[in-house]
Symmetry: C3
Subunit: 538 residues, 3 copies
């Protein structure tokens, strides 16, 4: 194409005069587009054109009188774009560190005899998922994104596959930026890749918890090859890449479309649904249930310090996750996003703790403290930019109660999720999106997804419209990921000769048989205490 | 009030022309305030007014000739404020991560049988403290702060309670920003909240070390509800919120008032004094002392790797703590602050190690390596911006020796502080403030606390004035927190039916009785080796 | 000297009009230097002078018409410099956190009975190395650097010792900035110190892995005193401080000189060579080899979770290491650097895992997952800014295979490196530099080391020139550090009465004899399983 945007791999020409922006508007006044013959008959359009033309002429005339100011505006624009690059990259680094948090939470909540295996899954998913996203996932998800506005406006990722209903475009999949070559070899595109890759890898590592302590490493590797390539990017494109859920509002008037600021559905619920399907299909761990499906041997975490360190790392990384999702350090709403994130994590942790202590087990259970905090974080992820501190606190507290009840529920119906991944990420991912439709207070989100006005939920006079958009997104997430998970599970079943290790391996612990060496060596473990032989088999 | 500053929750109108500042001054020249009838009789004031008026008129005239430059200055100001937001938030995130560091240091230095309990206290203090600070602590501490200068100058937090002595205002408590509503719902106020909340939570988590291995979880929770609401914010307001210690200089000519750049007194000494009172009242751990008060069974850390990882995390987070306290990435002193912080941590660690090795136990004790580094960090926290690299190195080394001797001292007098919290945070917090009065070299701090001139200590020709201001602050901290700690301890004593667990629970380990599950499971622990039954009871 | 640059300790005068830069150039047009009598006879030089003079006169005339724009440019320049300070400091903080990563990787890969000792070495090297670098190492390495361009251009570090060959200056050692006093007490110099100190400490902590589990703590301390003072800064000056390897290109036309963007040779290979010499001289651990030099008892890691957490921390910190090495957040290539770093870590980890699984041991070995990721990271460190995503992926994969084979090789020849430090940092440090000479794609590096044109390697049409420059640097690194290591090893041998602990201590574990307390207490360890008595002695 003749006028394809030119990639700028060195970032030298990124950030110019047009990026000099402030609360009072952009520095540069651009020339209006010429009117078509039809438009020239519309007096309103003619008036708008004339006004814009006059402003442009005035700017042009004044610019000749102030060449130094114009020259300086290039520096100002470059500074602005640099601030946004720095913000996006550093917050992205924080999100990457969440991989360590997940690894520790999951390993800490599992048994010592499986520590090496659980840790290794959480470790390998990072490179595996990344390389799939690099190969094609990024292109599928963001290949049709359009201009990367906050980072200089590079518009080379401009090919979205889809179809038309009347004059409305229904986007389904991006198709540019494969292997970060060609149009993808641009500094802004790379910054976007980094930030989005670590989001994908967050999703990717969630199911390793749901299927932990019995998942064959080779089967896990096959899943790992699928998550970054196609499982994650599809729904991701629909919400964040310009696909049909993003345009529900502009196309069909349903709120601002499915709004998910930082990924309650895109990241967490996707991971939670996969965890649900995998935990369900792979079956519960040996020894936990008897033949009648009653829990006879609750399996306790092998290291609370490890799980809590992991939770702190996650809460730390979430300050990258949510505030970073502006992709702009110059969007000062970042402070509100960060505080909301913090508050929801606090009310989630406190609510879950007190709910356990006062209502459920009569003890302030440490593992539920962790899951309560994570539940609050997952829930605030979608609405973090749109709600007040009070809204964040309330929806976080609700998340803390939901997660406790959900954990007990899945335990009861025999879906054995060693770390609570389904409840934390799946159930509260859904709750987070829905809560946006209730608590969005109308102070932010002007023009979101191309719909004028701010984002406003039911409790702030916005009606049910935004709630429906959220519900549609959540439903689409559930259905799509269920299907994809089933497919990938059975692919792994065939290619790896089953997803589950043998019973002998499970009883011994997966570390030595699967990974070759124990997770802990030189420390005396007490394996029998961990899994009594109750004579039950699945 | 008619002209209350308007909060800007979306941050859209924050950062404008007036924020365009540089070494050569502000871009905008403001109109001078009109002179009163009295002032018009003072020829100096008339001259100053005339000059300022002339500068303003010239600026106004020139601004008409350079409308684009004026417009551009909005973008420049917004960039500047954005840099400061980004800096404040990211450094605040680093400080939040210190919660994990404290959790690991304290848990690592305690025994394996209490690992879950110690970790859980450090975990829950984060949400508990936060919610109290959100409820009212922030309003108490910063409700009368005045303009948030580096982040756009929002001035909505403008109500300080206090009284007058003559024409001097003595501030005691802020009274605005409760629940971050109303005047509090502003992006700059939220950024300030985030940064200050994580500081408060640092204080909050210190006493969990001093009272570790015997503190009832319910009693701890009551303390947790008090720390963020009122224990921390009171003294905090006096030093950082515009209260009487900050105005000691402008009101009474005592140096620059009590100067504490990043919290040697506000954060660390407050925590250390609480730890002292609680460790003293709750009594030593069973088995450590015999009936005559002699140490018969030194209790060793259960995990040096855990304690050292925690120390590294703290040293890492301190780069948020100290340099972030400028609240401005555009204050380039941040580099000096960061390096001073680093150097004091190094000399503290090295001095403590060599002091132990050559003078005390003849071994390079790993737990004292940690406490030495932390002591250096605590000490440099107040003076970090005001001293040279040499000053930082010396005062850090002194801190390293102080901490060793202080640990031995408190051990000797029977105040059992399992992690050294009193010595690290209390004693060295005081030393840090006092050292500012000695080592401040006069290169920074122009106009600090409204007092003209830079901050200068005894060794750099500043006389004793600043030292007295530091001493007054340190004394006020000790007295105030002693009283508050006594009150809160006895409130918990009543509400929780005692602060201390039963002896049986203490011997078994607090994990299962208090938290419901063990901290470690599937690993064989050696509890007897940890606490021999020496027949001693408190 | 009369016209020595004036240090700016408060950073108040740093960042001015001249720093206002953008893709379209600098804002200020400076006056050209007057021509000498000789130059005035050269018509080209006269023409260039006349043009530059005209541009300067036009700028000067226009500046009089736009005083506000000129004034504003100060703010713009200060913003730019502030962005660079913020970037350099925060990425430096991330690098500092890598100390924790190294500590965990090394301790996790060692045995439980040596956990306290291994951890303590990794802990103490941080302050020890730092203080040596502060004392003289920084002055040796950067004392002749010249202007710190991205941070305001402070030029006080301007004394490089060396000699001339004809008119070519051969730099050998810097000589300014000792103790950060005098010319060193400047905010930009402090920022540079911070960033470079944490790099030095990365090197410093590498050999503690190679000589782990048998190194006397006192001997280690002597090494620690040498690394930051002189071992690291010498080669460092040659590559990054303006020394002879940096000027290989401008002096002798060999590529762009030895190019090492973030330290494959300066940081990693230096550490790896020291590790090699020390591991070789100190001899293998007792029990691993029999008298014939065959491995009879492979020693396995005591904690895979610890090693993997450490690796994640390192991978996280590397986002400071590589992108931070621009010293500029306004150089938007940072996004490419970050993504390349990430991709090479992924292909390294995956390649090493699959190579072990399919070729070597038939198991996806967790410790080799870690070393594979680290190998990819080490290799990409030199070329990260100069290669494409594809190049990064390929060279990272090669690193993953190299590290496996290298570990087996050193094991076979009887050089016992408990953590793989030699293979990860030494061998792949060399590979990283060489790969730059192959994969540099010519999109970046214009004017690097004073050589015009971008950096281009063999595979992108750049010929062998850059490869030779890399090979010369790598060879110089190997020779220089081998000599320095031998000297330091024998100094420690004499001063500490040997580098190696006694056999009794080694069998018992170094923790209690060397450090006074065990690394783990209250947990039952299984020391016999860790080191069977095979009757072999060295």
């Amino acid at each position: 194409m003749a006028d394809e945007p030119k990639p700028d791999p060195a970032g030298i020409a990124t950030g110019l005069s047009v990026d000099a922006q402030s609360p009072s508007g952009t520095f540069v006044t651009s020339a209006p587009a010429e009117l078509s013959a039809d438009d020239q008959k519309d007096p309103d359009k003619v008036k708008a054109y004339t006004d814009a033309k006059k402003a442009f002429d005035e700017y042009t005339a004044q610019a000749k009188l102030e060449p130094l100011a114009v020259k300086l505006s290039d520096s100002v624009g470059h500074n602005r774009v640099s601030i946004n690059f720095v913000w996006t990259l550093i917050t992205g680094f924080l999100v990457m560190f969440m991989q360590a948090g997940f690894a520790l939470v999951e390993t800490g909540l599992c048994r010592a005899k499986n520590a090496g295996h659980t840790m290794s899954m959480n470790f390998m998913i990072y490179p595996l998922g990344m390389l799939g996203f690099y190969l094609c996932g990024f292109a599928f998800m963001f290949g049709g994104l359009g201009p990367i506005g906050t980072m200089g406006g590079y518009a080379g990722l401009n090919k979205e596959l889809g179809f038309h209903i009347g004059d409305k475009f229904i986007g389904l999949l991006g198709w540019k930026g494969f292997l970060l070559q060609g149009a993808g070899y641009d500094s802004a595109a790379f910054a976007l890749f980094l930030f989005q890759m670590v989001f994908m890898d967050t999703t990717a590592t969630i199911p390793t918890g749901g299927a932990a302590e019995r998942w064959k490493f080779s089967a896990f590797m096959i899943y790992g090859a699928c998550i970054g390539t196609i499982m994650y990017p599809l729904f991701g494109n629909w919400v964040w890449g310009g696909g049909w859920l993003a345009t529900l509002g502009s196309n069909f008037g349903i709120g601002h479309g499915h709004v998910d600021f930082a990924g309650s559905s895109v990241v967490h619920m996707q991971g939670g649904v996969i965890a649900l399907i995998f935990a369900w299909l792979i079956g519960p761990r040996y020894g936990k249930y008897n033949k009648e499906g009653k829990i006879v041997h609750p399996i306790v975490p092998h290291s609370i310090p490890m799980a809590m360190l992991g939770t702190f790392i996650l809460a730390f990384g979430w300050f990258g996750f949510n505030p970073g999702s502006t992709l702009a350090g110059t969007d000062l709403r970042i402070a509100v996003v960060a505080v909301n994130t913090m508050l929801a994590s606090a009310t989630g942790a406190l609510a879950a703790t007190l709910w356990m202590w006062w209502v459920r087990t009569k003890k302030p259970d440490p593992s539920m403290m962790c899951n309560g905090m994570l539940a609050g974080l997952v829930a605030i992820t979608a609405p973090c930019a749109f709600v007040s501190a009070g809204g964040a606190s309330i929806l976080g507290a609700v998340a803390g109660i939901i997660v406790v009840e959900s954990v007990f529920f899945f335990d009861k119906i025999g879906i054995d999720d060693p770390v609570g991944a389904i409840s934390v990420h799946g159930v509260n991912g859904a709750w987070g999106c829905l809560s946006l439709g209730l608590f969005a207070d109308g102070t932010y989100g002007e023009g979101w997804n191309g719909v004028s006005g701010t984002v406003r939920g039911l409790f702030y006079g916005g009606g049910m419209n935004q709630f429906w958009a959220e519900l549609i997104g959540v439903s689409a997430c559930f259905v799509t990921l269920t299907i994809l998970s089933l497919i990938v599970y059975y692919i792994a079943e065939v290619l790896a000769g089953g997803n589950r290790v043998s019973l002998d391996v499970e009883i011994e612990g997966l570390d030595v048989p699967e990974m070759g060496i124990p997770g802990y060596s030189g420390m005396m473990l007490d394996k029998d205490a961990e899994t009594p032989h109750v004579g039950q088999r699945h």
